[in-house]
Subunit: 314 residues, 2 copies
């Protein structure tokens, strides 16, 4: 049996990425009900808001679901307490040191997965005792690694040295890409952009429309002097680009970024001044569908390719 | 039958990338003799040097081989004349407009393939009448597209709109990656870095050693104000990085780059001052092998995975 399905007790090894401003209880419970693993994105929730989303998720699905927690979150202690109090069984950690929290979570019988973009942090996470690792490539939306290693190069690199199951993330929005990731040695996939553009995503419809109209080259990794983040090109992106071309320093970029731009863009729908985080694969997303339809398409294409098989040359 | 094997009359749909300073007649004829398609890299050859390499290639293999021609090459007319005079049957064009040369080559019954990094140029190349398209992703070594689209995202994007066969390039150095590319809809793969580190590569041994010792994050796409190029990190890279951090303009970067740095590094073995072009996949290349061994490994792994098949979830 597939190790990711076994680990999470799910039907399909497809994780819906926990994304800020996109993945509330509607998206997470829909992904879990469709046979994958839904994740709440705690990164854009105050602790008590997260508690409400966990409770609604429990009320709307009987299937396993989890929470994605950026470890650099200021209220991290409260977030972890709520996760434990509410009996969440799966936590994906990202953006921080897994050594601090993995043991605390595992002592509560919580399955822990850490998201990495390079081998060094994958080894650290494995040492910290995580149950699986998400390897996220350069093409992914939102925050991203400094090495800029793509999914196609990252997964084989992790596979060489990592013993725990690997979940591939970045550039995966179809059954064909799922099979590609499995070919490279991943046991599961994490899908972000495709679910950000789903009916159940909590993103503003303006953002969903922007995703399905994105073309080739419409995203770029920016703000590398702060924390690299893949942005959809808009007025704010142009301002960042101009500032970076003029050699703006960290302080100036922080000032330009300001406060709450991601919420303003993705959640409130300001397509000009908002910070819009999405992956390169958005260029091949052409319509907003339900989570069930998206899951059916991904699994349907994967199964079709697996059944068809590949030509032998010997 | 596989359309790339049919097009080139080869056994395996594996193209050895035509790379400057790495792919002379020894590498190209070895790749063709091993059942793939060998390509001479004309980009680092004076016209009469190319003629010699074509003649030696003809003398050392009876199998099909081709020439990679950067269309921006100053001596492009002479290069094309020599290719026609010497009866070369396959030409891969890159770095320039395929409209100018495709018809001239096709009128001589030459099979023409164009290398692209985005959909726009793929459509132009198809319109110009090319027989196949190489889609090269961000992770590839050397010169690279401004969109920074990775192979995992580029191939599905091309597959949607392009009718001619697609060859995936960038991040492919194993049978697993070959199968991943085929899953995405490519009919063949182009392998660069892996063959740059082969015994038959014309690169200096210092460069081959540098490739097999490269780690995660040891390459980066630089010189974006000139033409983006993926470099192995060394002293020259540090100089470029410092200049770019100090907001150097195009003129200053050109001056810093100077003349013949690629030759100086890859061919003459200066690992400090040389320009070293290699792909991200170098992090998973650990030894210098013969072309035959590399081909056996790639095809062997591909066949093993195809035979083993993939788990069904329905």
């Amino acid at each position: 049996m597939n190790s990711i399905c076994e680990l999470f007790k799910i039907k399909y090894p497809v994780i819906q990425a926990g994304m800020i401003w996109n993945s509330g209880w509607r998206l997470a419970s829909a992904a879990s009900n469709a046979g994958g693993l839904g994740l709440l994105g705690a990164g854009s929730m105050y602790p008590e808001v997260l508690r409400t989303h966990i409770q609604k998720c429990k009320a709307t699905t009987s299937m396993p679901f989890g929470v994605n927690v950026p470890l650099l979150y200021p209220d991290i202690d409260k977030i972890i307490s709520i996760i434990i109090e509410e009996g969440v069984k799966i936590v994906f950690t990202s953006a921080g040191n897994p050594a601090t929290w993995t043991k605390i979570l595992k002592d509560q019988n919580i399955t822990v997965v850490h998201v990495v973009s390079n081998l060094k942090f994958a080894l650290k996470a494995q040492e910290a005792g995580v149950d699986a690792i998400v390897g996220e490539g350069f093409e992914a939306g939102g925050h991203n690694g400094r090495e800029e290693t793509t999914t196609l190069c990252l997964i084989p690199l992790l596979r060489e040295k990592i013993a725990v199951p690997i979940i591939a993330a970045g550039g995966i929005g179809s059954g064909a890409a799922m099979l590609a990731a499995m070919s490279l040695g991943a046991q599961g996939v994490q899908v972000g952009s495709r679910f950000a553009a789903s009916i159940e995503s909590s993103a503003h419809d303006n953002f969903k429309q922007a995703i399905i109209h994105a073309k080739d080259g419409d995203t770029q990794l920016m703000l590398k002097k702060l924390a690299p983040v893949r942005l959809l090109k808009n007025k704010f992106y142009e301002e960042v680009k101009a500032a970076e071309a003029a050699c703006a320093n960290e302080e100036e970029l922080k000032k330009l970024l300001g406060h709450a731009r991601a919420k303003h863009g993705m959640f409130e729908g300001d397509m000009e001044a908002g910070e819009l985080e999405i992956g390169q694969i958005s260029a091949t997303i052409h319509s907003i569908k339900s989570v069930q339809e998206i899951m059916d398409e991904i699994i349907g294409e994967y199964e079709m390719l697996v059944k068809k098989g590949f030509e032998s040359f010997r």
